[in-house]
Symmetry: D2
Amino acid sequence: MTVLGVDQLQAILVDSFPGNVVPRVEEVSDDFVLLSQAIDTQHGRPGGTLSGPTMMMLADTAAWMAIMSHIGPVLLAVTTSLHIDFLRKPELRDVMARARVLKLGRRLAVAEVEMFSRGRTEVVAKAQVTYSLPSPGSDS
Amino acid sequence: MTVLGVDQLQAILVDSFPGNVVPRVEEVSDDFVLLSQAIDTQHGRPGGTLSGPTMMMLADTAAWMAIMSHIGPVLLAVTTSLHIDFLRKPELRDVMARARVLKLGRRLAVAEVEMFSRGRTEVVAKAQVTYSLPSPGSDS
Amino acid sequence: MTVLGVDQLQAILVDSFPGNVVPRVEEVSDDFVLLSQAIDTQHGRPGGTLSGPTMMMLADTAAWMAIMSHIGPVLLAVTTSLHIDFLRKPELRDVMARARVLKLGRRLAVAEVEMFSRGRTEVVAKAQVTYSLPSPGSDS
Amino acid sequence: MTVLGVDQLQAILVDSFPGNVVPRVEEVSDDFVLLSQAIDTQHGRPGGTLSGPTMMMLADTAAWMAIMSHIGPVLLAVTTSLHIDFLRKPELRDVMARARVLKLGRRLAVAEVEMFSRGRTEVVAKAQVTYSLPSPGSDS
């Protein structure tokens, strides 16, 4: 069950990164959150492909969105680890990230994120991301 | 033994990301390459800390620099995986990345990257990064 | 498309670990390979749960099986990296591993592995595993 | 500062894995814990090398020992994630693991583990391991 929808998650993103271009929240369901990142030339790399850091940032954000879709706004959640395998060179077009929550504990949440080019099905990168959830009086 | 020094690595960075602010190559030795990233407000996160993606980008770049310091310019090397543990909230000041090559094979190179705030010794994030090295006729 | 089935993969496992109890290959399909590991008390940990190393070994093996189901026997393939998130304490009963190939390159193959207790659907651990595939004259 | 020494850590290992051959605690210092694993033919793989799971088990154990050397016995600490890069084929001889604590929080501890063959300096595998530390009433 989700407690935040597309518009609410989008608003959190816009508020959290004032002045930045943020990903677009495309879909929220019980199973996943889908984000897209419009690609401009600034995200490119030699050879006409998308930069790794652009994908890492999107994976991190998508995992956060997926967690919040289930438990509401946790603005002070922090990423504790991120693992990503880059599988194929993505084309220089919109990249999509589908994030699914694997675990929602009281202290830790883990999500996996599949990334692919818009209109394609081949996975270009796959990530597993862990967030630490804030709790009263906690230091980590 | 290194085959590229501070100035050569810096030039590769500037050429590879035209129009972007790039990290500064501070030191190159047989054992490691040291980069720094000047932090401005754009890299910040709520709570006055540095964003995770800024550190992931720096880790990725530092690993690439360390590998090239040993084998020369491999502009088409691509990151195949990156794992990062975020250990402490960094202050909102320059962040340093010290990258050390763990393996230099013909096809894969692995580096570890320690990150810390300038003037501090505590590690704020630690990464292990794998690059695939180009070879004639290879698709990886 | 798969080129090896349940019996062939099981035979490779038995031959590769002579004298050891090996996982059972339960199912092979275009999309995944499913293994099971019968649990005895030797795999246990304080608190009546399954040991982490048992799950890491199973994840590693399941990824190898999934890769071979698509490309045939590559006995000298070697694991180059493994990342695993432990999500829940598994019960002390048979553990299942469903491995899916994410990438099959000429030099590297990547698989993801979901692990769960037999008869349960909750994922207890999730891994991403990279194998280096042998090629003539290669040192990886 | 360490609160447990070689003999105490060794005793915890022996007690935790009754009936199993456990690694030997070789050295405990402020900076690291050093373990060794005697290798017999059961740990071997085709080609006369050490199996990956043997190294993953040792990395997991070494990280746990390093954390306990600083905070005392936390028998119910559980591994939440493990990332390992296999760098070189180790020889079929004793393998050593040097574990260093990167972070000791109230809820999470992170260690890195370098592995090498006894008498050698080349790193054969490198891991980053996260443990969740038990706290009253916590489900992690």
